[in-house]
Amino acid sequence: MSVDVDKSDRSPAGPPPPPPSIKAIPVRHYGRWVAAVVVIAVIVLLGRAFATGNVNWDAIPEYLFNADILKGLRNTLLITLLSMIIGIVLGVILAVMRQSKNPVTSTVAWFYVWFFRGTPVYVQLFLWFNLGLVFQYIDIMPIYKDEWSDFMTPFLCALLGLGLNEAAYMAEICRAGLNAVDEGQTEAAHALGMSHGKTLRRIIVPQAMRVIVPPTGNEVINMLKTSSLVIAVQYYDLLQAAQNVGRDSGVVVEMLILAAAWYLIATTVLSIGQYYLERYYARGSSRQLPPTPLQRAKAKLSGGFHRAGGAA
């Protein structure tokens, strides 16, 4: 009732005058101040402990671009990239196989995922390494014949161990993505005369990507770190390199910290890439994409001062 009265009072008067801006004492966020003090104190204490501790900090920049370390880093990035490629390609194939009307195909895919998700990747790496006990020779009849141990290099062990394991996880991610696309999309594409394959490639997969990309980004980042397990098959990755250099030069802990730094740098770069990839696949899904951090920072610098003041 009272609302009606207000409205009828205001409407004939034309545009209302701008309301006087509110003058009020902002809420004081004491908790934020306390938290900030605690965090700073912890950082200072930790920093002092590390700085005065028995760590030779100078060794870290010295070995940052050491040839062996860089070789290890390169191998880590290479094995991550190649395993992910195997994982994604095989994962997509397995996901499509799972949805196949052919019961043989879908069952094979089911068993694959069941086995490779059901066993630890560390164990799988060891198994690949020791498969020579089962197969003494590799004999792809006309093309290739060799002793298993010569064929199954540390690189191949690492690649198969990580890649095939990853495929099982990617298959589940892709399946979830494909299922997330509305059935009406398939119908619309079929009604236009598109074949199954075209529908999948042009209509379903691009939309499934929105669901698939974020967890795949996580998988890449995880893979980068999981790849340190390839030490089990004696592949010369970043961690192996750091340990070797550390042992030879008597800077074991320093080299571990260095390895951690390199892993952090690599995962940070990947996270940034993931962010922009997600934006790309989100196109058309929301009316307006949120601003990138760069755009947000610019907006904050130009217009956000009084808001920052209010929060403090």
Binding site: D182, G184, Q185, E187, A188, A189, H190, A191, L192, G193, M194, S195, H196, K198, R202, I203, P206, Q207, R283, G284, S285, S286, R287
Partner: protein, 267 residues
């Protein structure tokens, strides 16, 4: 508009039926949905299908372009059996590729639009000509521009579906179907997901199509459209055709009890 339509209509009536259903049955597992549908749609006819929810209207429409498989009876489009090839008195199931080829000639418009959300309006319209017919992108773009213009959306060509209103999306969907130059258009309640004030724009596009002599099968709750534009009307209930005839007769003077009670609820 009416003159072009009546002249084209006389030309069409002599031809074989565009859609012919004889005793069409369809079940989903134990649920018997279509229980022997017989009907004929003449070329250039606007054929309206009405009936209560769950009566099987959408199911029948989807059978026409083989999105659903018929269980019994014969269903043909433009003289060709839907989903099968007949040879020496035996039926052979069509391969996916052949089914897809037949669907090119049948446009379909859905209640929920089903535009491709990752493509702009014009890309939606271009997609099938480029991917299915192998048309060049520039030729497809030119035609898509004309089609969007025809449905009154030339200024929305670069918009994504999520940026368009429901009525605009449905008009893009109609343009998308028309881009394949179909000989038959199927509409499944094209306006029932729309706000009332947006219904008119879509119906106008459909009237324009009818005036151009397009053969249309329209499932609709818009009795005004059926009366004004429809050439025949079928009332379906519980999987059977209860009553059929000219829209004005069926709507104005229904003969069956079920038709009467349905119309009393919707009119």
């Amino acid at each position: 508009m009416t003159t072009t339509k009546s002249t084209s209509k006389t030309a069409g009536t002599s031809g074989a039926p565009m859609v012919k259903a004889e005793g069409v049955h369809k079940s989903f597992g134990p649920a018997h949905i279509l229980k022997g549908i017989d009907l004929e749609v003449a070329p250039q006819e606007v054929f309206c299908l009405i009936g209560p929810s769950g009566s099987g209207k959408s199911t029948f429409l989807r059978c026409i372009n083989h999105l659903e498989k018929v269980n019994a009876g014969r269903l043909s489009v433009d003289g060709e059996l839907v989903g099968y090839r007949e040879h020496n008195g035996k039926l052979y199931e069509l391969r996916d590729r052949e089914v897809a080829a037949r669907r090119r000639d049948i446009g379909m418009v859905f209640q929920r639009f089903n535009l491709f959300p990752h493509m702009t309006a014009i890309e939606n319209v271009m997609e099938a000509p480029v991917q299915v017919k192998g048309e060049s992108r520039s030729a497809a773009r030119e035609r898509a521009t004309k089609l969007l213009d025809r449905v009154g959306l030339s200024d929305k060509a670069a918009g994504y579906p999520s940026q368009l209103s429901g009525g605009q999306q449905q008009r893009v969907a109609i343009a998308r179907a028309l881009a394949m130059e179909p000989k038959l258009m199927l509409f499944d309640e094209p306006t029932s997901a729309l706000d009332p004030e947006l219904v008119g724009d879509v119906l106008d596009v459909m009237k324009d199509l009818a005036a151009d002599g397009m053969t249309m099968v329209v499932v609709t709750h818009e009795m005004g459209f059926a009366r004004e534009v429809g050439d025949s009307l079928v009332f379906m209930d519980d999987g059977v055709v209860v009553e059929s005839g000219h829209p004005r007769e069926v709507l104005g003077n229904p003969q069956h009890e079920r038709t009467k009670s349905f119309l009393s609820k919707v009119l």
